[in-house]
């Protein structure tokens, strides 16, 4: 089975800290995605990547950046964490584009920014 692993289930950070959320997939998938999930708002796409060193902004990229130096790893970076970035963060991957393929999700990271 495909495995998408997020490095932390829970994180607590201080306002202004630089935060790294790591995601690794083990099935050589081309595409990787970062979503955040908030009550009443559903899942919103932050950034996605179709190839190594390639990234594209999603619907809410402000305050975030990403890094994809290796195919299996996609990192989400909060340059200066703020309380409104408290959320559940979900990483996902897919073999090819979503026009033909489903997404495989990690278990999520619940981030609290105090």
């Amino acid at each position: 089975d495909v495995k998408v692993t997020q490095s932390s289930r829970y994180l607590v950070k201080r306002t202004g800290e630089k935060v790294f959320l790591e995601c690794v997939q083990d099935m050589d998938h081309e595409n990787m995605f970062w979503y955040r999930q908030d009550p009443g708002l559903g899942l919103r796409l932050i950034y996605f990547s179709y190839d190594v060193k390639m990234k594209e902004k999603g619907d809410i990229p402000e305050g975030y950046s990403v890094s994809r130096e290796k195919k299996e790893r996609f990192s989400l970076i909060l340059e200066s964490a703020s309380t409104n970035q408290t959320s559940m963060y979900l990483c996902a991957s897919s073999v090819q584009g979503v026009r033909t393929e489903k997404l495989f999700f990690g278990s999520g990271t619940q981030l609290s920014v105090l």
Binding site: G40, L43, L45, K102
Partner: protein, 112 residues
Amino acid sequence: SQQGEEDPQALSIQEGENATMNCSYKTSINNLQWYRQNSGRGLVHLILIRSNEREKHSGRLRVTLDTSKKSSSLLITASRAADTASYFCATVHLQGAQKLVFGQGTRLTINP
């Protein structure tokens, strides 16, 4: 916004009954997908239906798609307590980037 909308937001039924959830969207799609999420966990893919398909089955799941009404439904037959979860529809639109756009989900509770 391209975001889909699920209806109802919450549904509570007795074990053994059928559960129906609906999803509506606004712009033409390439495909529509349903996902399930147990509390505090990641999403798990259930079924994908393409724009040229009208109905798909997978075990106790039945999904229909009506592109003229821009809507889909997910039916879970003979529900079990373990089906308690949130269910999300997600659409891939014909225009724009290849990305899944999720609705806000339906919270399904199956009472034993």
